[in-house]
Structures are given as structure tokens and as C-alpha cells.
């Protein structure tokens, strides 16, 4: 019984410790932003093309509604944040494939450097927009 408890607690510890690492959260967020961006690209293509089917006036009306509405402006800002995160974390993954920054410490350092650049660009775009 005691042996089973030890085995279980070790397994639990091993699985839960994964969630305390930056790499795990970077991976989860990369997947979530990826799925969000796929949803967006499908909606983007669908809206642009179908409104063009209805003519120039319908296209302009749709764009002025989407680009002028505060909710969609906020969503656009979130979208750019997702693009920046996915892009910069993607560069980090590409570097790993090339054998750059795969050490335990350098993985974290690279992550924070890229996130600092992404955050700067995101804030800059927000200042430009509003």
C-alpha cells in the first residue's frame, strides 16, 4: 500500500510539474493561438469574398461596420496579439529545429526575449491604433 502511494504520488508529481514550466505554457498558448488564427483566417476569407459578391457598396458597408465598431476594434487588437505571440514563439521553435537555444536555460531566455519584442510591437500597434 505504501509502495503504491509512493508510486502514485511520484506520477502525480511528474505530471503536475510539467505545468509549472514555461515551455509547457508556451506550447499550450501556441496551440490555442494557432486554432484561433485558423478560425479567423476562415472567417476573414469568407467575409471578404461573400461581401464582394454583393458589390462595392455592400463591401464598404461591411468594412465600416467591422472597423468602426469598438468590440471589433478590441478583437482586432487581440488578433494582432495572437499573431505576434504565435509568430515569435514560432521563430523560437524554428531556432530549436536548427539546434539554437535548446539548453534548459537558453530556452527560457529565448522565450522571454521574443515575448518582450512581441509585447513591444503589440503595445506600439495599440498606440498607433487608438
Amino acid at each position: 500500500m505504501a509502495k503504491n502511494e509512493t508510486t502514485l504520488s511520484l506520477a502525480f508529481k511528474a505530471k503536475t510539474q510539467v505545468w509549472t514550466t514555461i515551455g509547457m505554457w508556451a506550447w499550450v498558448l501556441h496551440r490555442l493561438t494557432g486554432l484561433g488564427l485558423v478560425l479567423y483566417i476562415f472567417i476573414h476569407i469568407l467575409l471578404m469574398s461573400t461581401s464582394l459578391l454583393r458589390g462595392q457598396q455592400a463591401f464598404d458597408a461591411m468594412l465600416s461596420y467591422l472597423m468602426g465598431h469598438p468590440v471589433f476594434q478590441m478583437l482586432e487588437t487581440l488578433l494582432l496579439g495572437a499573431v505576434l505571440y504565435h509568430g515569435f514563439n514560432g521563430v523560437r521553435i524554428l531556432l530549436f529545429d536548427l539546434g539554437v537555444g535548446i539548453g534548459l536555460r537558453s530556452q527560457k531566455v529565448l522565450f522571454w526575449i521574443f515575448m518582450a519584442i512581441a509585447a513591444f510591437l503589440w503595445l506600439w500597434s495599440i498606440v498607433l491604433k487608438f
Binding site: 496551440r31 465600416s64 499573431v83 487608438f130
Partner: protein, 110 residues
């Protein structure tokens, strides 16, 4: 999925870093805060280079999206039949969206 589709995913990522960056800059960030109009988009798509850039973005973006979604799907450990059906649906959706996207460009340029 094999080594070539994986490599193409990495290549598409590199292409997207450039094309999506330029697309966002030319169509959104450089004119931030302004509401775009049909005539302005026509003007911005006026150079063959920008049109080519957007078509490359469309093709590589859809490939990257389909491969990415399929990779996430594989993590759930479904059987071969389910995987083939899901991949087939994804490819069909991508072909449909590619057609819609190309129609969009054609509608702008005609």
C-alpha cells in the same frame, strides 16, 4: 504526415513571417485607425508585387493552418479511419477557402 510535409510546414512558417508581416503593415498598421474602403484596397493592390504577395500568403497560410489543425487533432489519438476522414475534410475546406480567396482577388482586379 511525413518529413516532407513537416518541412513544408516549417518553410510555410518562414514564408508567413514575411508575407503576413508585409500584409499587416500595408493593409492595417501603416493606415491604423482609418476605416478601409473598396477604392483604397484597389489602390493598395495596384502593384503586381502586392497581389503576388497576398496570393502566396493565401496558399501558404492555408497549408500552415491545415497542417497545424491536423497536428492538434493527432494529439488526441484517434484511429486511422477518423484521421483520414478529418484530414479529408480539412483539405476540402482548404480548397474551398482557396477558391473563395482567389475569387476575392479576381473581384478586386477585374
Amino acid at each position: 504526415m511525413n518529413a516532407w510535409t513537416w518541412l513544408l510546414q516549417r518553410i510555410s512558417a518562414c514564408v508567413l513571417l514575411i508575407t503576413l508581416g508585409l500584409h499587416l503593415w500595408f493593409l492595417h498598421i501603416a493606415h491604423s485607425g482609418e476605416v478601409l474602403r473598396y477604392s483604397e484596397i484597389i489602390q493598395r493592390l495596384g502593384t503586381p508585387l502586392l497581389i503576388a504577395l497576398d496570393i502566396v500568403l493565401l496558399i501558404f497560410g492555408l497549408y500552415h493552418a491545415v497542417y497545424g489543425v491536423y497536428s492538434v487533432f493527432l494529439d488526441f489519438g484517434f484511429g486511422l479511419k477518423t484521421r483520414v476522414i478529418f484530414l479529408g475534410l480539412l483539405v476540402m475546406a482548404a480548397i474551398g477557402f482557396l477558391g473563395l480567396g482567389i475569387y476575392g482577388f479576381w473581384a478586386f482586379l477585374r
